[in-house]
Symmetry: C2
Subunit: 165 residues, 2 copies
């Protein structure tokens, strides 16, 4: 492929992720009323959203109630397949080790996230499971989409929580 | 506590895990007809089974269809709580990184398993996530309950699968 076309396509893709991330951030006020405002969406190869999820651990008392896993289950049901090689997931915070390993299990093609998580992150924040020897699947990971804004929203949420206690 | 009583209680607990593991292995013929024969059961603090699951990834097309996660979801629903500090999970194969991280997320008190998994295992087979810096919860891990028998059943299953192809 011509190098210029490749660069143009990459830019288009990046713009598309930024657009989705903005939509995730717009929703965060509403999501943040009950839970840590993390939202994940899954896109198929044509860029259509086939799954979405927001944190539901507290409200549903579900240890698996992370945004990424909820989106994954919804999309697997729609696809009727557990393999996601041609799909992308976009989420505002780096997935934790559980979600990172689940995305590897699901053979997710591409993982795009905003803020890093240096306490629980499974794509480099604490360990990069996508490059670990347990990973039977290699995926493309894009970090730092609107990271400042993503980080800020989460920090504000935690600050509010502390003030409520 | 008196050292002898402690030892006796430990032995009783071990015998209980062996009993459950035997029941898991007895079921493996049936489970193995459709999926890799992995079964997990969750016990509450009184030793009552509050959740069980067997692999369903292929039959349900669910990337989260591992035995441990199915048992966890069932037990969380029964408990109406995502915290499992006083509970134990028993499974015939070492949980993968996804399931290991999910058990840490769920603050599972004790993890008991049979055979090691040196390809995907998350409790030492490839990495011990329970001792990793991402783990906010320390759990008791008991390895090697009926490990020879557990390993043999899984090996036979894979051999049959290869012969079918």
């Amino acid at each position: 492929m011509n190098h210029n076309i490749e660069t143009q396509n990459k830019k288009k893709a990046d713009l598309n992720y930024i657009k989705w991330m903005k939509s995730i951030l717009r929703r965060s006020e509403e999501v943040g009323k009950l839970e840590l405002p993390i939202t994940a969406i899954i896109l198929d190869k044509k860029g259509r959203c086939i799954g979405r999820g927001s944190n539901k651990r507290e409200t549903k008392n579900d240890p698996l109630g992370h945004a990424e896993l909820i989106a994954l289950r919804q999309a697997a049901w729609l696809k009727n397949d557990w393999r996601f090689n041609e799909c992308s997931i976009i989420v505002n915070l780096e997935p934790c080790t559980m979600c990172a390993a689940a995305l590897i299990q699901a053979r997710m093609g591409q993982v795009i996230y905003g803020a890093d998580d240096n306490k629980r992150g499974g794509f480099g924040g604490t360990i990069d499971l996508s490059k670990h020897k347990s990973a039977h699947h290699k995926m493309n990971v894009i970090r730092g989409i609107l990271d400042d804004e993503c980080e800020k929203k989460i920090k504000i949420w935690f600050k509010k929580l502390r003030n409520q206690k």
